[in-house]
């Protein structure tokens, strides 16, 4: 009957002068890392510093789609483990994260897109992750109401159906992890803005915050869209472009969309939340910025795309639009690194718009990395050094350009 006894999900904690581990960023990545540091590695002195309230950033602004249908095996393995963690965490945290295993469907709108989709399906099935290439009719069986005619500017050629995917209640993940971390002794400090990082003899020694200085032995930068700005406090330049990415919801409806779908050609992805709204996300704004501003352009763009894909959506209305930051790397794969020139400094950044689906699994391995000092094998592909070697991860085929030419 615990649900009838409202108890604090996480306890307020006194700000101590020194913690063994300090995590910058009270989003899913930071909280998950803190949780696993305490849970798996038995570390008792961990603080999470959040400048606003926990889940303020991308953790509470994404469209909550989770999946493991990436392009390269290295990524698929990581995200697959991430997918399997949702039920485990739900049980461990005793907090219902509302994982809705509805599957995802990526639509292909050209022969080239279908070639890419075939490669994805083969890659997934080869490593044991279920995916299936669908023809247009099969797509319409998964998503009733898709327009299969030649009328749309980009007619549907087929799709990639990925049954293991789904949606998760994003705020619940933040609160559940905070609950679990707090119960294991992690101190969560909200309204604590990091203003500087102290080092001495090539070691990280602490952080200066709006609430005072805090000493630490190991420091994790897990600040989502603000990761590169925090790293810059130490003069570390990261190949990250923070871009706003917008999302919106419609009025709520009884369930009619039973699978999350996306379309690269239209730059749109959508799912129906458990509450019945259609939550839909757009492409990123092209300008590098930290504003979290929504724009009228995307509201219209999204409507144009959705009604072409599914004409019945002409009957729905948008209720709310918001935006968050996506920390884009040139190869759309993250940077998880412990060799940044300062002993005790760890970085988990550059997740772009994949930060939500990867949160718990990234936290699990970042905790292992930070606790042991040894890079876990599964994180090897996500070294920062790959950019220096001009060895891109291949997570996206297209040559990326963000804002300006590079």
């Amino acid at each position: 009957m615990s649900w009838l006894r409202p108890r604090r999900l996480w306890r307020p904690a006194p700000l101590e002068r020194h913690y063994e581990f300090v995590i910058i960023g009270g989003g899913i990545h930071g909280l998950a890392t803190a949780y696993y540091l305490a849970r798996t590695h038995g570390i008792e002195s961990v603080a999470v510093l959040e400048s606003h309230y926990i889940g303020f950033g991308g953790s509470g602004r994404n469209t909550a789609i989770v999946r493991a249908n990436q392009r390269t095996v290295e990524n698929v393995r990581l995200y697959e483990e991430g997918l399997k963690l949702w039920p485990v965490l739900t049980d461990e945290l005793d907090f219902n994260l509302m994982f809705f295993n509805c599957g995802t469907l990526n639509l292909g709108h050209s022969e080239a897109a279908m070639n890419g989709i075939r490669m994805l399906a083969s890659t997934h099935n080869l490593v044991g992750v279920k995916s299936e290439v669908l023809d247009p009719q099969q797509c319409a069986e998964v998503i009733p109401g898709l327009d299969l005619s030649d009328r749309p500017a980009f007619p549907i050629h087929g799709g990639l159906y990925h049954p293991p995917g789904g949606i998760v209640r994003h705020d619940a993940v933040v609160w559940g992890l905070a609950k679990g971390a707090s119960a294991r002794g992690v101190h969560i400090h909200q309204g604590c803005e990091v203003q500087g990082i102290d080092t001495s003899d090539g070691r990280v020694t602490g952080v200066r915050t709006s609430l005072g200085s805090i000493g630490c032995d190991r420091l994790g930068i897990m600040a989502g869209g603000y990761g590169s700005a925090v790293a810059a406090m130490l003069g570390i330049e990261l190949p990250i472009h923070p871009l706003t990415i917008q999302a919106m919801v419609t009025h709520p409806f009884k369930p009619f969309l039973h699978t999350a779908f996306s379309s690269g050609a239209y730059h749109v992805y959508a799912n129906q939340t458990l509450k019945g709204e259609i939550a839909t996300g757009a492409h990123m704004d092209p300008q590098v910025n930290y504003t979290n501003d929504a724009t009228a352009y995307y509201l219209k763009h999204q409507a144009e795309a959705l009604v072409e894909l599914m004409p019945a959506l002409r009957g729905v209305r948008f209720m709310r639009i918001w935006s968050g930051l996506a920390d884009m790397t040139p190869d759309m794969a993250p940077i998880m690194e412990g060799e940044l020139g300062y002993e005790g400094l760890y970085l988990d950044a550059g997740w772009g718009y994949f930060g939500f689906k990867s949160g718990p699994v990234a936290g699990k391995y970042m905790a292992q990395y930070m606790a042991s000092g040894e890079r876990p094998e599964i994180l090897a592909p996500f070294r920062l050094g790959r950019f220096l070697e001009n060895r891109y991860s291949g997570e996206t085929a297209a040559v990326m350009k963000y804002g300006h030419w590079d």
Binding site: V133, F256, M319, I321
Partner: protein, 980 residues
């Protein structure tokens, strides 16, 4: 049910009855009714059921502030009855209920609220986990409201778009907005005035109070007439604003009129300045059972009577907190509605003695310092309980309508989307802007003004302020000072009421802070107890303000209640962020008429006439193939053995000239471009800073410092910016002109290409005079001069003619005529794709990707490694990873016979390891076997290596094959045919 006859304020035309149906029952409304007023007028009191507890809900608000009256109208779900105009024949059904909302089978849920505290679902249903999907599907079915049929068509009326431009956008057509529009218009500014309702005047349109010798509605009417007549003022009624965005972009939509209800228009107005005069709305009073049908806002009851001529109730109790509420009660009494009592949450501060006199005259009991603490009655209000705010005994009254509010609150939505900084004002007890963005002005009752003269004056002040801000054009800026002086002499913002909630709240009854999501006062407490103690977190945890009404019902109250419960001063309360769009535009309206923006080549109709099947390729519609064979075997054979013609017009075509043209070319191209010569095509490629292939094409020198060059079709649009960006620090003098759309082109390819060309021109096109890679200007037909480039992308003798786009159809006719004897036929993109793949020519994006550099795909030969002065884009990266192990390389494949055919996208595997993939593979009639172009790890990329291919497009359906690695130049590897 009888209607009132309210006179001139009424917008309903009782001479025009409209028949409609509710739940299949025939009802009558009148022209000018909204769906909500018609239903209420026809006696409907329960409009639907609430989301979580399935409590009966009635007409509460008038502008969609709550979702109480969301209905299915003519099959369209989630239509707001309050803002939808009634039309004859409408079929209206309630939502989230089966059958009559008066008898709902889920009504029992209301009794189980104790089991459903805020966020209860986070603590339930997950153990054992196996049962979760079952609960989840139940939760999904219970959630949501309207029913959408994914196969149905909705809102198929005309959709248009307007893009406006104004010096000032005035938002709100009330007295302040109208005064602002007039003042700005008189100053010579171009004004757009946007009003959500069908007519101007705001709340003045239903107020009959005498003011300076005439009723307020007439005063507003006179002002409206002046606005309509004003030269520079464009009035847009029925036009809700959805938001003010960056740089004062104002967006909204215009809803259809009665005559043309389905016509909706999406509009955007780029305004130099914005005047926000959005007015006020009721701040809901939070008390026990404040959601019962029969509890409504002051504005709702008043407008029902005055605007729609609907008797709101027979015996009405008022619990208000400002003078407007008193005025409404007195006015209703004058219309013959019995007022049981008026409670005013304020102890004092009411308007002068005339209000008290008016109450005495009418013998209406008046209770200052009191508020209604409870509504009595389950399915509709039958009475209420009144309490003093200071405690003490309660009194019970019978009534059938309970009109309640906690005073008025400013409509902050538009200001919030404009990113004004807002703070709680302890005088007006509403959120007031403390900092306005550049060019944004605010006026009217939303600033707390109550006196009609002050409201109008504030509009004039804003109007002249705008004129001053816009600068220059104003004839008499000095005149702008006068309204400010005038406004100062008038009464300022009135004192508001800071009541947070009614007394005796809770105590086993539900007091709703948010109606749409069934968020109660108790839920606020529960959120705080969980540690989710600021409005932003409570909103996410318990859903406050997440329903269709958004911030309108919960916004200010939630912030005040949370501050109160935490023991903080109320002025520290921050409401949740207001998100656009404010007026809930439909996707149909936002999407507009749906333009498919694409380019057609100059030969589009010629190709269509020959049976072309078009596909979108970037911005273009291009012929994929001709006829009904998607594999294009005949098209391919015809090029290999005879002659074909391709419409290559989308090819990027540029001229660069000027003293630094060569420098610029050296910067972006990988080859030594100083070797580009007149009359000869130099093939080269561009890379990005990572050495990834961006583009390829040929460059021809046409004179000193004058070059013509081509790019791939996909890159044509980006090329000018690419040059400019990569030479931005050099201050170079060159002109770069994009000729892509100006010039069309067609490619004559095949062993008989020269024989066709010879018939078109008298110029010498023999192999000696016009060798491979030559470029000449030739005269074709009746004197059309064309650039002719002898290239070989498809691996055959071929001539590409570039000529002004308008001449290209003529050239096409000539070519088809001249080639008729040879059996010339057009070929499309797919044939070209196969032909070039057989030749081993790369298409960017098909055989190149992020992981591979120019050298990785075997094109490193063109890179001028010795050049260290041009700073070639990508050269440092190429140098850095020149001999790096583990990279992907481009190879050719010969698929072993008898194996199951691989497809584009098939993987190259080594055991269970993926070591590459097949980019393009076809079974070739020309070669007699299946070839492929693949990117594979360097360790496997040597000729003769046997590799394994595998694809598994569905779980368990694995297809494997084997292939031998070879040079990708399968066809004519020595290039003899190109040079023949």
């Amino acid at each position: 049910m009888s209607r009132l006859r309210p006179g001139e304020t009424c917008r309903v035309d009782f001479s025009r009855p409209l028949e409609f149906s509710f739940l299949g029952r025939e009802m009558t409304g009148y022209a000018g009714d909204t769906v909500a007023s018609a239903l209420y007028g026809a006696g409907v009191r329960i409009f639907g059921r609430s989301l979580k507890y399935h409590r009966p809900r009635g007409l509460y608000s008038m502008e969609g502030e709550s979702a109480n009256t969301f209905m299915s109208i003519d099959g369209v779900p989630n239509e707001c009855a309050e803002t939808t105009e009634l039309r004859a024949g409408m079929a209206i059904e309630p939502q989230n209920v089966r059958g009559d909302p008066g008898r709902d089978r889920f009504g029992f849920l209301d009794a189980f609220d104790r089991l459903m505290p805020a966020g209860f679902y986070y603590h339930l249903f997950h153990r054992p986990y196996a049962l979760w999907p079952l609960f989840q599907s139940g939760l999904r079915r219970m959630a949501g409201t309207g029913v959408l049929d994914p196969g149905a068509e909705y809102r198929n009326g005309v959709r248009t778009e307007r893009y406006l431009n104004a010096d000032v956008a005035v938002i709100g057509g009330g007295p302040a907005g109208m005064a602002a529009a007039l003042a700005a218009g008189e100053s010579g500014l171009r004004v757009c005035l946007f009003e959500r309702r069908g007519r101007l005047g705001g709340q003045m349109t239903w107020r009959v109070r005498d003011f300076e010798g005439e009723p307020l509605y007439r005063r507003a009417g006179a002002l409206a007439a002046r606005v309509r007549a004003a030269e520079n003022v464009n009035v847009f009624t029925r036009s809700p604003v959805t938001g003010v965005w960056g740089e004062n972009l104002v967006t909204g939509f215009a809803v259809g009129t009665e005559d043309d209800p389905f016509r909706e228009c999406h509009w955007e107005c780029r305004a130099t300045t914005v005047v926000v005069a959005a007015g006020c709305m009721d701040r809901p009073l939070v008390f026990n059972h404040n959601d019962r049908p029969g509890v409504m806002q002051v504005g709702t009851a008043w407008r029902l009577a005055r605007t729609y001529g609907v008797r709101p109730g027979k015996s009405v109790a008022f619990s208000v907190a400002d003078d407007l509420g008193l005025e409404a009660a007195i006015d209703l009494d004058d219309m013959g509605v019995r007022i049981r009592f008026i409670a005013d949450a304020r102890e004092s501060g009411q308007q002068g003695p005339e209000v008290f006199d008016a109450l005495c005259d009418r013998a209406i009991p008046f209770f200052p310092g009191c508020a209604v603490s409870r509504a009595v009655g389950r399915k509709r209000v039958r009475g209420c309980v009144l309490r003093s705010l200071k405690g003490g005994r309660s009194r019970r009254f019978r009534c059938d309508l309970l009109v309640a509010n906690a005073g008025m609150q400013p409509r902050i939505g538009i200001l919030a989307t404009a990113k004004a900084r807002l703070a709680y004002c302890t005088h007006t007890h509403g959120y007031q802007p403390t900092e306005l963005p550049p060019g944004v002005f605010v006026a009217g009752s939303m600033t707390g003004l109550r006196d009609p003269r002050s409201i109008e004056a504030s509009g004039r002040v804003a109007g002249y302020g705008v004129a001053e801000w816009c600068g220059g054009r104003l004839k008499s800026v000095a005149g702008a000072r006068a309204p400010a002086r005038e406004a100062e002499a008038l009464p300022g913002p009135g004192a508001g009421c800071g009541i947070i909630h009614a007394p005796a709240i809770g105590r086993g009854a539900k007091a709703f802070v948010d109606l749409d999501e069934d968020g109660t006062y108790k839920n606020v407490k529960e959120s705080i107890a969980r540690g989710l103690d600021v409005p932003e977190l409570a909103k996410r945890f318990a859903g406050f303000g997440l329903g269709p009404g958004q911030y309108r019902v919960a916004g200010q109250n939630l912030a005040m209640i949370m501050a109160d419960l935490r023991g903080d001063p109320v002025e520290t309360a921050h409401p949740t962020t207001v998100r656009p769009p404010l007026g809930a535009p439909s996707l149909a309206t936002l999407a507009g008429p749906g333009h498919d923006v694409h380019k057609r080549t100059p030969l589009h109709s010629e190709l269509a006439g020959r049976g072309a099947v078009f596909r979108r390729a970037g911005a273009w519609q291009r012929a994929r193939h001709f006829g009904d064979d998607p594999s294009c075997r005949d098209e391919i054979r015809n090029v290999r053995t005879n002659v074909g013609v391709l419409d290559s017009s989308p090819l990027g075509k540029f001229r660069i000239h000027g003293p630094d043209a060569l420098n610029a070319l050296q910067r972006v191209y990988m080859s030594d471009m100083s070797k580009a010569r007149p009359g000869r095509c130099k093939y080269s490629a561009m890379c990005n800073d990572m050495g990834q292939l961006m583009d390829d094409g040929v460059v021809v020198a046409e004179g000193p410092g004058d070059y013509y060059f081509t790019t791939s079709s996909a890159r044509a649009g980006d090329t000018v910016e690419w040059f400019r960006f990569h030479t931005r620090h050099d201050d170079w003098d060159y002109n770069l002109v994009n000729l892509t759309d100006v010039l069309g082109s067609l490619n004559i390819a095949g062993p008989n290409a020269r024989r066709v060309l010879e018939r078109l021109t008298r110029d010498n096109v023999s192999n000696q005079a016009f060798p491979y890679l030559a470029c000449r200007r030739i005269t074709v037909g009746d004197g059309v001069e064309a650039r002719c480039l002898r290239l070989g992308f498809v691996g055959e003798l071929s001539f590409e003619l570039h000529a002004p786009a308008s001449y290209v159809p003529y050239l096409w006719d000539l070519v088809m005529e001249a080639g008729a004897d040879f059996g010339i036929r057009p070929f499309g993109l797919e044939a070209q794709n196969c032909l070039r793949a057989e030749k081993g020519h790369v298409i960017i994006g098909m055989e190149s990707e992020q992981r591979v550099t120019l050298t990785d795909i075997g094109m490193g030969w063109m890179w001028d490694r010795e050049d260290t002065v041009s700073k070639k884009v990508g050269a440092p990266a190429l140098r850095a990873c020149d001999r790096q192990p583990g990279r992907l390389n481009l190879v050719g494949l010969r698929v072993e016979e008898g194996a199951k055919a691989p497809r584009d996208g098939t993987l190259v595997v080594d055991g269970d390891k993926i070591v590459g993939y097949v980019c393009t593979t076809r079974s070739s009639d020309t070669l007699g076997w299946q070839y492929g172009l693949a990117l594979v790890h360097r360790e496997h990329a040597f000729p003769g290596r046997r590799i394994h291919l595998c694809h598994e497009e569905a779980p368990g359906q694995r297809v494997t094959s084997t292939a031998f690695v070879m040079s990708p130049h399968f066809y004519d590897p020595r290039g003899e045919r190109l040079r023949s």
